[in-house]
């Protein structure tokens, strides 16, 4: 019966929330933006939206993979902060080394998350809430609680760089989402993540090594957190051990608005991209309207509730 329900959920999810509603919502928020301010469609504003939100965009693609696997990763915000500290510490010596070590560190954190999860069988939100604190501690100890300077100016300018008028990071986002989409759809590992997330027991019976798949999903989440951290470092131009707080909430919001479910097995990274853009545009609209930036977390919280609530109502 439970199997049936997840199958139905899969179908409903892909037929409705994915294909029609989401693009409509996306167009609607764009229109609202245009109506609210003539500045909305200006090149400068669109650039600002992407450059200001890209960190969340990268995190959201990794979060989608984790949600499809039926788990959650609350430690990605701390991982972004740790990456910025590692980058700021090592980049003065060698930029290549710094980038390499940063991504190695976050992938390792992901693997540790995955191994601990599969070995201890504890709920993933408890585990990653704990590793969130541990990773944050490491960042604070390395930076001694202070911002770390030393990011080369050339690297810091990358966040604002453009190719033919299009922000470099927008192209990077397209590449990241295309690769994740391809990975989830056309590789064995990607498809296994779906089957493990929708029914771990059934996946096990078909010969999938469930534990290994979960570890892989966390490694991917760590990898994406590393990439997000690399961009974040360039964006804020320094290492911030106490930065990127609550970034995981925004990544989760984007994935959920895009139709990923907490029960696993469901979600498309292309829809997450739309979800991410919707959140970024809503925040931008609030800014253009002159609403206090402190309203943004309230809006994010309400968006999560509305997105999940609407989906639940449609299903029942």
């Amino acid at each position: 019966m439970f199997q049936n329900r997840t199958q139905i959920k899969n179908k409903v999810g892909s037929n409705f929330s994915g294909n029609i509603v989401l693009p409509l919502v996306f167009i609607a928020v764009m229109l609202i933006g245009a109506l609210i301010s003539p500045l909305f469609f200006s090149v400068q504003n669109l650039r600002n939206i992407i450059i200001g939100s890209a960190t969340f965009g990268i995190l959201a693609s990794g979060m989608t993979v984790i949600l499809i696997a039926g788990e959650i990763d609350l430690s990605v915000g701390s991982q972004v902060a740790l990456t910025s500290v590692v980058m700021a510490t090592l980049a003065p010596r060698s930029l290549t080394l710094a980038i390499f070590v940063s991504v190695l560190v976050t992938v390792s954190i992901g693997i540790v998350n995955g191994v601990l999860l599969t070995k201890t069988k504890m709920p993933s939100f408890v585990l990653t809430l704990s590793t969130m604190g541990i990773v944050r501690s490491i960042a604070l100890v390395i930076g001694d609680g202070q911002p770390v300077y030393g990011v080369p100016r050339s690297y810091a300018s990358l966040a604002n760089a453009s190719v033919g008028g299009i922000p470099l990071v927008a192209l990077a986002l397209v590449v990241i989402y295309l690769l994740t989409w391809f990975f989830l759809k056309y590789t064995t590992l990607g498809r296994s993540i779906y089957s493990v997330g929708s029914n771990a027991e059934a996946a096990r019976l078909t010969g999938i090594n469930v534990n290994r798949i979960k570890v892989a999903a966390y490694a991917i989440s760590g990898f994406m957190a590393g990439l997000a951290g690399l961009y974040y470092t360039s964006y804020v131009t320094l290492g911030l051990p106490d930065g990127a707080v609550d970034y995981e909430t925004e990544a989760i919001t984007a994935a959920i608005i895009g139709g990923a479910s907490f029960f696993g097995g469901e979600g498309q990274v292309t829809n997450t991209l739309l979800g991410f853009l919707i959140v970024a545009i809503v925040k931008n609209i609030l800014n253009l309207m002159g609403v206090s930036p402190f309203v943004q977390p309230v809006a994010i919280g309400l968006l999560i509730i509305v997105a999940v609530g609407v989906r639940t109502m449609r299903k029942s």
């Binding site: 201890t120 504890m122 585990l127 704990s130 604190g133 994010i300 919280g301 509730i305």
Partner: protein, 323 residues
């Protein structure tokens, strides 16, 4: 003569078994000994113990509420932000001439309503508790900073400061509040119909429903209680800091969960106790106290709490599996 040796024998045979079944107690005793030795007795001084209890009373109060929602197989990730929001609401009303009683009542109401709101999303919207309360945390954090554009509120009236600063018979009022909330929690969970409902719903929701328990109501009240506990903790911390603080350490929420976990309550729901949680908070207080005595970098401390959660949950689950 014979009798007393019998008693001694039975105590001897019972002590190891009590310790074996209660790892918290072992942890507690080991910490007492280690702390006493390392601090050359300072640890056991009444003033050190009293200070420690005063400092951790806010986390202790939150943890009592957290126990109830975790017993319900849920979790409340919004307690820390709720604490910030209530702190700002109470301080704002107090400095704007609404006296003492009204701010306190409104503060408690905000906590209760916030909890009811999370509970409604969880029960009616079928949203997993950690997502619903994560969303709630975001909302509360936004509202808390919105009140004054994230500036702290100073200049509270003197009467408001009693909760975090005064003593009765040498004992800090916040410690008395913690003890009262703890006793209320113990009573509620072990001696009332509601408490039996909590264990039933947390243990097996379906069979609880089939045996005529109003599952939704039990859950709603659980989250409301957690919100009220966060509000009480907020009143204490506002009073202790003499200000309304829009940024309360997010780590407090983790420590509240850690107290529950160390206290032996299972995330699967239906197993655990409030008394265990109270001991859990005391253990966390002692660990932090010990780290301070050993001059360990304070930045490491939240990492250590995280590591303790992982280790404790792992051990608890091992134990549950072998049983």
């Amino acid at each position: 003569m014979n009798n007393s040796s019998d008693v001694r024998e039975s105590i001897k045979s019972k002590v190891p078994s009590v310790l074996a079944t209660n790892p918290r107690l072992v942890m507690f005793l080991v910490l007492v000994v280690v702390s006493t030795v390392l601090s050359r007795g300072v640890f056991l001084s009444p003033s050190n113990i009293h200070n420690m209890l005063r400092q951790y009373s806010t986390i202790g109060i939150m943890a009592v509420g957290q126990t109830v929602v975790i017993l319900l197989a849920g979790v409340d990730l919004s307690q820390g932000s709720m604490m910030a929001l209530v702190s700002m609401v109470v301080a704002y009303l107090n400095v704007n001439g609404f006296g003492i009683v009204l701010p306190l009542v409104v503060g408690l109401l905000v906590g209760a309503l916030g909890g009811l709101f999370s509970g409604t999303i969880i029960t009616k919207g079928k949203v997993p508790p950690f997502i619903a309360t994560l969303a709630m945390a975001s909302i509360c954090r936004g509202l808390a900073t919105l009140i004054t554009q994230s500036r702290p509120i100073y200049g509270l009236s003197k009467e408001l400061l009693v909760f975090g600063r005064d003593t009765i018979g040498g004992i800090g009022i916040q410690v008395i509040i913690w003890a009262s909330v703890g006793l209320l929690g113990i009573f509620m969970i072990t001696r009332t119909v509601y408490g039996r409902g909590v264990y039933a719903v947390g243990g097996n929701e379906k069979s609880a429903h089939l045996s005529g328990i109003n599952v939704q109501k039990v859950k709603l009240l659980g989250y409301a209680f957690s919100g009220i506990c966060a509000a009480i903790a907020a009143i204490v911390i506002t009073s202790r800091m003499d200000m309304g603080g829009p940024y309360v350490n997010a780590n407090d929420n983790v420590q509240s969960i850690a107290s529950v976990v160390i206290g032996g309550t299972s995330f699967a729901g239906g197993r655990g106790s409030v008394s265990g949680t109270i001991l859990g908070t005391v253990i966390i207080a002692m660990i932090n106290n010990l780290m301070n005595l050993m001059l360990i970098n304070p930045y490491i401390q939240q990492g250590i709490i995280g590591a303790i959660i992982v280790v404790t949950v792992t051990l608890n689950q091992r134990k549950a599996r072998t049983e």
